[in-house]
Every structure is written in C-alpha cells, then in structure tokens.
C-alpha cells in the first residue's frame, strides 16, 4: 500500500483572481493538513494550484524533493501524481463506476501504482457499485468512488475539497471514517479543505488557517 511516505508538501503561492488576491504559505507534513477558513477565501483555488489546474502568479509548490511549480518549472496536472477528490465528485457521466475507477489507474506508471482495483474496492466497500452508472449513485456512494478513483491513480498525496459538504449526517460519519483510514492505514499525506470546525477538529493532524 502507500509505502508510508512522509514527504513534506511545501507551498508558497499567490494568485490574483479578479479583484482579490489568494495567497498561502505553509508546509504540510505527514497526516492530514486542514486548510480551514470561511467560504470564498480561495481554499479550493489553492488545491487547484497544487493540482496544476490553476497557475499561480508567483511562488513555488514542492512535494518532497520534487518541484511541481516554481524556479521555471510548471508541471502539467498529468505529471504531478496528485489525487484530487472534488467537492462535486466529478465522476465521468459516460463511464460506469469500474471504468471511472480505472481511468487514472490505466494511465499511471505501473511502478507508481500502490493499490489494485480489488484493494481499493475492499478498502472503500464499493464492490456492489462497479457496474453502475454515476448518475444512479447516492452522494455517499459517488464520493467513495471519487476517492477510489483518486487513490488508484497512485498519487503521492491526496487533495480533498470539502468531500462531506453534499452528504447527510449519517454519510458524513462513513466518509470521515474512510478519510481517517487513508490517513492512518495508507499513510497518505492529505490536504483537506473545509469550513467546518467540527470536521477539522476530528480529522486534522495540523491546521492552516486561510483568511483575508
């Protein structure tokens, strides 16, 4: 499994979006680092910059010894080995659950994969969903599949963008347990965006306050 990598994520970025500036500077160690702050301060934009979907105006992003951005480097998203679980899941609507799960797995360098489809299915308890279409999944099911898809990509770290926001209270507990197991059993570094203090208190190893 996630060969217990304890690499630090070193982030110092700034980006002007419209009339506001999003800036963040922090180092995230092992475990779950929560980016905590009110809605609309650009927490998701920070994740997008780490994933390579949004280009910072300046600064750097490093994971372990590898520079993803800065010093003249700007790796495209596909070269970054980052698992991203979006707030809305973003499963591919024209592919069944199995094909969604395997999308990034098939593209990953075999040496970089550290989880098989069977392991991911067991870990997340989604064995019964493999033949289903995304539109037929409940919110909790879709979020599990989205997490599985990101893990199967063989990432060095995981980005979670308010993964509980669209779920009811019972499902929240389920998914929180899954996230804790990713943190503790898979030992995958996680950047976790939330505006909910209770969530952050339960899950976070360390907290980075993002604000104006």
């Amino acid at each position: 499994m996630a060969n217990g990598r304890a690499m630090a994520i070193d982030i110092d970025v700034a980006k002007r979006l419209g009339d506001r500036t999003i800036a963040a500077q922090f180092t995230a160690g092992p475990g779950l680092t929560a980016l905590f702050g009110p809605s609309g301060v650009g927490k998701t934009s920070i994740l997008n910059m780490v994933a390579g979907l949004l280009r910072p105006d300046r600064g750097h992003i490093r994971i372990g010894a590898q520079t993803l951005f800065g010093d003249g480097v700007d790796l495209p998203p596909e070269a970054r080995r980052i698992g991203y679980v979006f707030q809305d899941g973003r499963l591919f609507p024209h592919r069944r659950v199995r094909a969604n799960l395997l999308y990034g797995h098939g593209l990953a360098d075999p040496a970089a994969r550290w989880m098989s489809l069977d392991e991911a299915v067991d870990f997340l308890g989604i064995g019964g969903l493999l033949g289903r279409w995304p539109h037929s999944l409940s919110g909790g099911e879709a979020q599990r599949v989205a997490i599985g898809r990101a893990l199967l990509r063989g990432p060095d770290c995981l980005l979670l963008d308010e993964p509980l926001s669209s779920l009811d209270a019972a499902r929240r507990g389920d998914i929180m347990a899954v996230i804790e197991r990713i943190r503790d059993e898979l030992k995958l570094p996680i950047l976790y965006v939330s505006h909910d203090r209770a969530e952050v208190e339960r899950l976070a190893t360390s907290v980075v306050e993002i604000g104006e």
Binding site: A51, G52, L53, P76, P77, E78, R80, I82, G83, Y84, F86, D88, R90, F92, P93, H94, Y103, G104, L107, A108, P134, H135, R149, A150, R153
Partner: protein
C-alpha cells in the same frame, strides 16, 4: 412504387448527401471546437463566414463555386492540372455544393454540444494522468458525440434537399447531378409529371421529417443524460 428512374434519383441523392456530410464532418467539428473554446482576433469574422451560406441566396453560393472551381477558376485550374479532376457537372460538385450549404447547420449543432461539455470533467481527467489529447478522445469527444451525430443527420437532410447552389454550380444532369429537389423541379416542367412530383415530394417530406426527429432525439438524449447527472 418508385420507377427505376426514381430509384436512381434517390440513390444519387443519398450518395451526394453522404459524401457531403463526410467532407463537412471534420471541418465542421474543427470550426465548432474553435468557436466554442477559443477566443482569438477575427473570431467574429470566422463565425460570420461559417454562417454565410445560411443567409446568402443559394444561387450566389453556386455562382461563387462556379467562379472558384470552374475550368478557369483558381481552385478548378489547380485541381485540373494536378489531379486531372474537375467537379464541373459531376456528382462530386453537387456534393461540394451540398457540403457548403450544410456547414453552418452542422457547426451550430456541434458547437452547442461542445459548449455543453462540463470542462471541469476535463480538468478531473488531467489530474488522473490524462494528457490534453487523451482527455479529448476519452472525455470531451464522447460527451459531445450525440450532438455530433445530430449534426450529421441534420447536415445529411440539408444536403439531400439542396437546390439553388447545386443547379447553379453543376447544372441539372440526369444520373449525375439531378438529386431529389432537382428531379422534382424537372418533373414540374414536364406535362404529366404530377404523379412523379407527388411521389418524390412525399419521399422528401418523409426523409426530412425522419432526420429532424432523429436529430432532436439525439440532442434530447444528451440533455437528459446531463439532467440525470444533476448538473
């Protein structure tokens, strides 16, 4: 029901329409993608040029084709000297005229379906290791496909109905350029041609109606898919 001559007309129309949409398909898709996804100087001009055949009198389109592809036209002379090919008075010329008349409709339909793609899905594909090109083939194109098929059907229907540009460019030659509408026009000129006119006209209505229903169904299917997905 139909005479041998009428079957020949139908077969020719289908051949011309099929060739026309196959020529137009890649060009229309590239133009639709360009207009849907890119902001560049002169975009309005490209957009207007694409739509020109829709508003220009078809006879003018035919005349412009005649000038360009005629034996002394710039393109015609080039085709003739390099490939020994002439489109004049040939079914291939009819297909070209139909292709140009179908272009705006096809670009419009494809552009709508491209604009309807949730681009965040492409971003998700990239974070999963997909190159832009791989993401295009596995995400964008399949999601746009119903719109592309709808455009194909619509363009085909438009092509087999083309009259003005065709008769101006390649004339009205039985077995070569006399497609359904041209045959109806010719039959109207002949005493006693009413029965043939009726049969061919009914056939035209059936083909056009069938195409419209099919393309509408394809478009609805895409939108239904998206609605169920909860976008």
């Amino acid at each position: 029901m139909l005479s041998a001559e009428e079957w020949e007309i139908v077969a020719l129309s289908l051949k011309v329409g099929g060739a026309a949409v196959l020529i137009t398909l890649p060009i229309a898709f590239a133009l639709a993608w360009l207009l849907a996804r890119h902001r560049f100087p002169g975009r309005i001009v490209v957009d207007a040029l694409v739509h020109l055949p829709l508003v220009l009198p078809p006879v003018v389109t035919g005349w412009l084709l005649l000038i360009a592809f005629g034996p002394f036209g710039p393109v015609g002379r080039w085709l003739e000297s390099w490939f020994g090919v002439s489109l004049m008075f040939r079914w291939t010329g009819a297909a070209l005229a139909a292709a140009i008349m179908a272009l705006p409709l096809m670009v419009r339909a494809m552009r709508l379906s491209i604009e309807g793609i949730d681009r965040r899905l492409e971003g998700a594909a990239r974070t999963l290791g997909a190159s832009p090109w791989y993401s295009f083939w596995t995400i964008s194109l399949p999601l746009a496909l119903p719109g592309v098929l709808a455009a194909l059907v619509l363009g085909f229907a438009r092509s087999i109905g083309e009259f003005g540009a065709t008769i101006t460019f390649v004339s009205n030659i039985p077995g070569e350029t006399r497609t359904l509408p041209l045959a109806i026009y010719s039959a109207l000129q002949v005493p006693g041609g009413e029965a043939m006119v009726t049969r061919l006209a009914l056939l035209s209505v059936a083909l056009s109606l069938g195409a419209l229903i099919l393309s509408e169904w394809l478009v609805r299917r895409t939108h239904g898919e998206r609605a169920r997905h909860g976008d």
